[in-house]
Symmetry: C2
Subunit: 679 residues, 2 copies
Amino acid sequence: MTETREPLVIFTPSGKRGHFPIGTPVLTAARQLGVDLDSVCGGRGICSKCQITPGYGEFPKHGVTVEPGALSDWNAVEERYKSKRGMIDGRRLGCQAKVQGDVVIDVPPESQVHKQVVRKAATARAITMDPATRLYYVEVAEPDMHEPSGDLERLGQALTEQWGIGAVYADLDVLRKLQPALRKGEWKVTVALHKGNLDARTRVLDIWPGYYDGGIFGLAIDLGSTTIAAHLCDLRDGRVLASAGVMNPQIRFGEDLMSRVSYVMMNPGGDREMTGAVRTALNGLAQTIATEAGIDPIRIMEAVFVCNPVMHHLLLGIDPVELGQAPFALATSDSMSLDATELGLTSLNANARVYILPLIAGHVGADCAAVALAEEPNLSDDMVLIVDVGTNAELLLGDKHRVLACSSPTGPAFEGAQISSGQRAAPGAIERVEIDPATKEPRFKVIGCDLWSTDPAFTAATAASGITGICGSGIIEAVAEMRMAGIVDPSGLIGSAEQVGTARLVPEGRTHSYVLHDGRAEGGPRILVTQGDIRAIQLAKSALYAGARLLMDELQIDTVDRVVLAGAFGAHISPKHAMVLGMIPDAPLNKVFSAGNAAGTGARIALCNVAARNEVERVVREIHKVETAIEPRFQEHFVAANAIPHATAPFPELAKVVTLPQVSFNTQGGGGGGRRRRG
Amino acid sequence: MTETREPLVIFTPSGKRGHFPIGTPVLTAARQLGVDLDSVCGGRGICSKCQITPGYGEFPKHGVTVEPGALSDWNAVEERYKSKRGMIDGRRLGCQAKVQGDVVIDVPPESQVHKQVVRKAATARAITMDPATRLYYVEVAEPDMHEPSGDLERLGQALTEQWGIGAVYADLDVLRKLQPALRKGEWKVTVALHKGNLDARTRVLDIWPGYYDGGIFGLAIDLGSTTIAAHLCDLRDGRVLASAGVMNPQIRFGEDLMSRVSYVMMNPGGDREMTGAVRTALNGLAQTIATEAGIDPIRIMEAVFVCNPVMHHLLLGIDPVELGQAPFALATSDSMSLDATELGLTSLNANARVYILPLIAGHVGADCAAVALAEEPNLSDDMVLIVDVGTNAELLLGDKHRVLACSSPTGPAFEGAQISSGQRAAPGAIERVEIDPATKEPRFKVIGCDLWSTDPAFTAATAASGITGICGSGIIEAVAEMRMAGIVDPSGLIGSAEQVGTARLVPEGRTHSYVLHDGRAEGGPRILVTQGDIRAIQLAKSALYAGARLLMDELQIDTVDRVVLAGAFGAHISPKHAMVLGMIPDAPLNKVFSAGNAAGTGARIALCNVAARNEVERVVREIHKVETAIEPRFQEHFVAANAIPHATAPFPELAKVVTLPQVSFNTQGGGGGGRRRRG
């Protein structure tokens, strides 16, 4: 068609096409067309990242016929690579195969620079790989005493010429390694380059002689009050190589955030103890996760942190006392980029970089920002409420027009704390509960066993762990089931054995408790749901609900289209029971989703895609923060939400739950209120 | 003249003028006109930096008459300041005095932001104050829980609004101080802000509650192989508050650079010992100089370094071995900006910044770059040769069209080392020598005494120090005088007592020595100039001369218009003797200047003026480097320059030196060559 009639090269799946002179390497053609074809070695036949699959025969869609000789012959470089490392049949190296005639070239996903990382949650977008830290192989000019320049400057020049990278700099540590690496590699080296989203220049984080492909890695860390969870990701392709968690050792200074702030108030300098404790734990966690993945932790070049404001300040070594009192002033709210060594994270690469997501407000942390990054309420067409349930609940409400955020002081009841038989989610903890509305008999599941307690094999299957207590999701289900079974009235009062008609109700002082499980015969505990437990759950769920209502008031809406439960705990809450309990505003059950650890996912996105850092910073600036602590309407909503009005599911999807008549065990008549609807 | 006829305000010395509404503060008028009037507190009557002197009466030149009421009355703020701190009569505070009528306002030099620092050398330009680190007083908004943002972000916002400063950031150390400083200062603080010449963002280096004017300081450090010299400068006005020097403790690893490089070659890890030694010395020097100036060293916010390449690498902790062999490859040649703590400089402010000037080549260091910055050969209309004489000599030759640089391996003879009676410049060292051409009798001066040795009071005046040896400038003068007195022939050979006709010549093996001073009767040494001393000086001066010739060859010139001798030693060399000796190319004596410690001056310029950093970086990029080490013509010039051809001054200005017939004591005829002239 063209006059020159140079061969036509068509890339799939991009569809990009162009004419190239005979002899053009496929990699060169791809680069000129802007096709996303990876290469670390810059086309020198070393890295094999540029593998492509030529197609032969008729391509009616593209209007070409590819002849057998459309690419140059399989060559020695390709043969050597295939025999040493293996290569899928039909694949070629894009830097070796040269265009000889019209050809259709498929770029397989793993050969793309901006690979997409598969995410589990169906509703979530994929992560496009574009990390701040990448490897580059480069051939550096030898020193010339007649044109004197430094090794670093010649490295920079080579990176500009061979990779189009602008000004680079290196810390002293890398400068010291530069001379020996260049000479050992005979002026060929691989460098790990880092350019954060706010960096004007590119930094050399590490250097290896010759071609290095031992991998570079990053940590996405969700630093929670109770648990520190981390994903170790391969910075080349975003794969999660290992995940691990440890308890936050600060727990010994206080179970929840405010008790840790109080510890500092009572013990000047106590923040330094807590800072030291969490940093030590983080170094240990990095070691553990690296060992699990079989890598050397000095290959970890980056860590991304999400955390609540108190953890943020304690990680950075900033006194958190201001966060314990109005106006809850943060020392800094913007994202931070710093050296891992500044945080005492000495187990990573000596030049590893840390990125901490921005905070939203004194009560709404970088973890909530990460949830926003992962769940993108700011792009949502429908009105979505995102609830990140942990020791404090953080809420996001909005759509593409506007997003609000607040935190609710739920306290740790949802995590099994302050519950008589409560315990953390661990083997042996009751996590699912059903109560027969007719017989009032329960059945349950414990963590570590898939059987219901009514299964004949259950006792044997749980012999190892025993039945030790009840965890957060278990107590929520228990209370909701007790309500639906008529054991608890709308005010939250537990009836007596006589009132309800079951011997499982036992008196406990002036109130009653429900015996969920009695293991005393086998030397185990008796697991009760007490009146105090119900009250604790009521307080927590009222706080959560009041926070959501406050945000809805601000948007002047009475319903939400979609609810997303985030947080490790959110992943285990049964939406049905949450709604019976009145934890969250009513929504169709098929519109209630679990996002798993969305904060951790947000951290992983920021680790794998540097542009996402700009995005989350922009989104956070645009989020409108609502402060619950001093808002009178929050108190109103809180009091009003104390009752457990539903004894049945509020939506047809829940209709299978048996409906019982409304009972009240309190002679004064219980609470009444329930949730008010506007209009 | 204008229709509104608002009062006319004329500023001197700038001549800027404009009409302003009645009531406009003088500071406001100055800012609107772009008049250079200082203010740290932003016009709040706190800092007193904006002092101005109103003029009254007739100003025919400006065409105005200033009435007594042209400015608002002296007010309470001014009275308080004057009574507490004092103020020159007639001065007003520019932020308090308001325009009431036509007025002429003089801005005294000390009230200008871009003050000029007086420099001693008459030929040198003044330094304009524009340091990278400055103080700003700022009033920060209090936290608002309904518009949550971090303290740092509100500080940044205030700096933008009140000072027009862009994005700021702070290290963890400053972040930790931010909360208490803001609260103690009731949301008014003073910050030290730093923006280096390559920085995209401004960094908060330190913070003080309220208005702080305890001063901030900087160090200009010339890190030499033998001596480390530092100036402590006030970063507000550029004044040198104290100067101090210490011996470089690396001397114990080797007297000169190459012996230190050899030490590392022989003792792997030896570079770490030397790095540690020099860093310890620098911390001590900072303490010493701060004590001398009566300031706390934690107020030192910046240090600027100049040094030769080996010292540069050893300061940074980089192995210098590559610099000991061709191709003399630098690890890095560009300027560096880093934290003082990276260099272990812990005695300065915890966030102090370091700037190191760029290197020119593997043999031509940041000290030479600093000389170029101070002496500006690149702006010169005439052809200037700048010689920085130290253990190695570094040379710059050129004019506004082109500048060349090289180093010459002179060795330490010019510093008195490798000389039989040589010693460092210290009290008791002979520094000036004259020899009577008729009698061959010498007279001399020693350091610490202004009298010639022939003065009757000399013995008493030097009793304390004694006469201990001969320093670098002394040996140069001695050799030149010996030549001019006919004691030494053009080849450098010393004649015998009989040949020359003086008993001061004594045999020393197969050669002869000249007795400059015999103190043995008083228990002092006999100070000789031996044949070996003459040879050592000949080698050194040949190297220096050959370097200059090589540069002249490159520019195809045979003469230079101007010679500048730089370096602490250069300040003491007698130009006449240097020229007799053939150290430097011939030039009219009144065109030979001493620039004193030009490298130190260059460091001070870069400390006081951040734009000068860009300038020196640009100049260094444009300097053409000539490598002497492997250049055959250097050897030719070196051999040819070995003779001491002049027995008289080569220019009329030297004609007063008695001319003697050319003699030769070597029966083979001595060296002959001398300097060849082209064409």
